[in-house]
Each structure stands twice: as C-alpha cells, then as structure tokens.
Symmetry: C2
Subunit: 255 residues, 2 copies
C-alpha cells in the first residue's frame, strides 16, 4: 500500500484540489484509494457536512469511533473518503499538536492497510507544522503543488526544507513530484514561473503535467468533490489528473 500526502507551506495553492482529483484518478485506474483529510478546514467532502453533520471523520476516529463509521464510500467503488470530522474549536492547537507526532496517522494508515486499500492520499493544512508535520512523518511520499505565481516559487524552498528535515532524521520520505497548478499559459506570469521552476529546480522533481486554471474547480471545491464526480459527464479538464496519476504511479512504486 502506498501513502501520498499533498503538502505546501503556502496557502491556497491547490493542495486539496490535487488531493481530491488525484485520489479520483487513481481510483479510476483500479487502485482502491482512500483520501484522508487532516485539515480542520474540512474542505474534503464539504457538501457532506450540511446533510450528514453527524458524519464521523478523523477527529471522531481519534477519539475512539470505529474506522468503519468514518469511512465514506463514494459513487466510485474504488474511492473512499475520511473527512476531518469535527475537531474541537476550543483546544484546536492541542489537537493539531497531537497529530504532529505522526503516531495517530501511522496507526490509521496501518488500519487502512488491513482493509486492503492500495493507496492512501492525505490532504494537509497550509504550513509545515501541526497536522502537516504528522503527515510528513506517517507518509512515504509527498506531492507539492506549485501555484503559478512568483510568491509560491519564493516560498517553495521552505516546503522542500521541511521534507529534507525528515530525511535528515532518518525517514525515507520522498518528494514524488512538484506539480505546477492554476497555470494559464495565455498569461506571462505562468510562463515566467514555469521557466524559473524548470530552470532552478532539479528537473527530476518536476512533472510535465500541469493543472490549468479552470472555473469548474471553483464549483467542485465548494462541494469538496473531485471534478469527475461533479456532474454526470466529467469535464474535459478531468483528463489532466489521469495523466498526472500515470506519471506519479511509477514515482510512488505503484506501476
């Protein structure tokens, strides 16, 4: 079983978008996939929050609720989700701290392995502390979305440092890929950032597939679903994640 976390110091770069859509793409390829949300923001499965506000998620599992109550089967048989649930508002800092050691996530991953999943995707909060730290400790691979804006490129080194810090502590954590997101090649900025990325970063870390800016993501995000599950017919841009999943499979040892 493989484990892949979406991580970035910078906020709003497309971590959740990547996690949702990659999980869907891997599942479509026949890999039994579960997406776990560790971000109190709870963007994964957001539309569930209204209807099933009693839906158990990570927070409830941490407090002792059985895994079967937290696992949500989606319309795609090979894709399941675990929402973040309802973390405490008072005592949130403590909750994030507890996750930061990685022990609970390691335990969850072990239980998911026993259930026969092929892949666990983990979405994390912006930043590299708290829950993200826990995911870096518990997961084997990381994918980093790089938003096509100069500031995102300036703050990327911090994300890379956090990953290296794990490796220095003896972890086998690998950066599977840096993926350019929200690209818009009709704008100069995307060209500039793409050029600088390919020019300054180790090219083996970059993948060719980039996620273009497309307003269909806005609607999908607001519901916390992959674009492939948004309507009866997946929008054209959904195909981008099939390409990305194919590129990543080899990198994370699933091919």
């Amino acid at each position: 079983m493989r484990t892949l976390a979406t991580v970035s110091q910078k906020g709003g770069v497309g971590k959740t978008t990547l996690a949702l859509n990659l999980a869907f793409a891997f599942a479509k390829r026949g890999l039994r996939t579960v997406l776990v949300d560790t971000d109190p923001q709870g963007a994964v499965g957001l539309s569930l929050a209204g209807k099933k506000s009693r839906q158990a998620g990570l927070a409830e599992w941490l407090a002792g609720t059985p895994l079967s109550d937290a696992l949500i089967q989606t319309k795609l048989p090979e894709l399941a989700l675990i929402t973040v649930g309802t973390p405490p508002i008072d005592g949130l800092q403590r909750w994030l701290d507890d996750l930061s050691t990685g022990e609970a996530l390691t335990r969850l991953i072990a239980q998911l392995r026993e259930r026969g999943f092929d892949l666990v995707m983990v979405d994390t909060p912006a930043g590299v502390g708290g829950a993200t730290q826990g995911a870096l400790r518990a997961c084997a691979d990381v994918v980093v979305p790089l938003q096509s804006e100069p500031l995102a490129l300036r703050t990327l080194p911090q994300t890379l440092r956090a990953i290296n810090a794990m490796r220095e502590q003896g972890s086998d954590l690998r950066l599977a890929a840096i993926v350019l997101t929200m690209t818009r090649f009709r704008e100069q900025t995307t060209f500039a950032v793409t050029q600088e990325a390919w020019g300054t970063l180790p090219t083996e870390l970059l993948v060719d597939t980039h996620i273009p800016r497309d307003e269909v993501f806005l609607e999908a995000s607001a519901k916390g679903v992959p674009v492939g599950l948004l309507r009866r017919r997946p929008p054209p841009v959904a195909g981008v994640f099939d390409n990305l999943a194919a590129e990543l499979e080899a990198r994370i040892g699933l091919a």
Copy 2:
C-alpha cells in the same frame, strides 16, 4: 494604540496582501504603523531575506534580541516592519504553540505602544490555530479577507467561529470587517460570491471597498512589499487601500 490582525482559516485569500497594503495606507495617512509578521512563511519583507539574512525578526525578539534590532524602518517614515525572522525548522510546532497563548504577542504589543506607534498590524498564517490563535488573543480588532471564490465563502464560518470563541472567553476582540478580495467583476464567480456574501452575512460586517484582481500584486507579494513601495509611482490600484483604510479607521477607533 490600535491593533489589527489579518486572519482567515482559508489559505491564499490575501491576508498578507491586505496586511502589507493596509499598513502602508494607514502610514500614508500619518499613523505611525508597524506591521508584524507571525507566519513562518515569512512573506512580509521577503526581499530582505536575501540581502540581510541576518536581519532579526519576531523569532529573534522572542529569543531575547532587543526590539530595536528587529524593527525595520521602511522608505515611508511612518511605516516600520518586523519580519517573522528565522523560526526553528526543527521544533516549529513548539514555536507555534508558544505563540498560541498570545502572551508573547501581548508583550510585544506593549513594547510597541511604549515606542509611540499608533497602529500595529499583525499578519498571521492560514488557519486559526498556532500563531493565529495568539494574534486573536493579543489584538483588539480583526479584518478577514474573503476571496471571491465559493469555497472561501464556505469556509468563512470557521473563521467567524474562532473569533466568537474568543468573545465567549470574555475577550473584547472585534471583527472590524470582512473584505472581498481578488474580485473580478467581469467574471460571474465574483458576482455570485459578492451577492451571496451581502445576502447572507450581517451587512455591518462587510465593507464596500473590495480588492480587485490585479497582476501588480503578484510582483509586490514576491518581494513582500506594499504595491505603493514597488515602483517610484504607485500603481492605480494602490488607491483602493486608501479607501479601505478610511473605512476601517472609524471601525477600529482611529478616526
């Protein structure tokens, strides 16, 4: 002396952009202003990081460095900055925890008051734990940027809950305003989000001034400077923050 923090659970919504440009606008109005960065991302004064990597900031002040070493005078006499400095990579979670109690920030604010500042702006990390929690405890007022995308509106309640939680604990913390950011009125999304915001949120919390999408922000953010300090002549969009500062002055008791 007033204290105003930019806060949002959601990442990448324009907290830092608002903090930088509002601080500049208030300073231009003659208010002695200092902008404090509490986000390890260190986006405030990013361009300084290269040249003066020995520049002391919040992290160094917390460790005992005198305030005068951390205070940076900008080209505008009434505007000073305190960068986040260099927080520990190993032990980052602990560093964020320590800030979360608000004690250190309260102490810093007291020292800044002694120095005769009229206003302290505080930029925070995405999320409402850690350093953001500290800022919510130490500051009197909060401004929340609301990105013109449906997901941002869905996650706004969490930010509002975090602010209310403070008030329930007896704090006088006030939400000065919710400000629509990255608006693009030629796109349907901005209309939809603006309409929903004005239709569902208490209108006294919203301000008329919105921050339009403008590529000059991309360059300014990458340098961690207000757009007004980016070139010799401030770009037209800089005027938006003058309007916003005027709208906020009354709300935070500075008028």
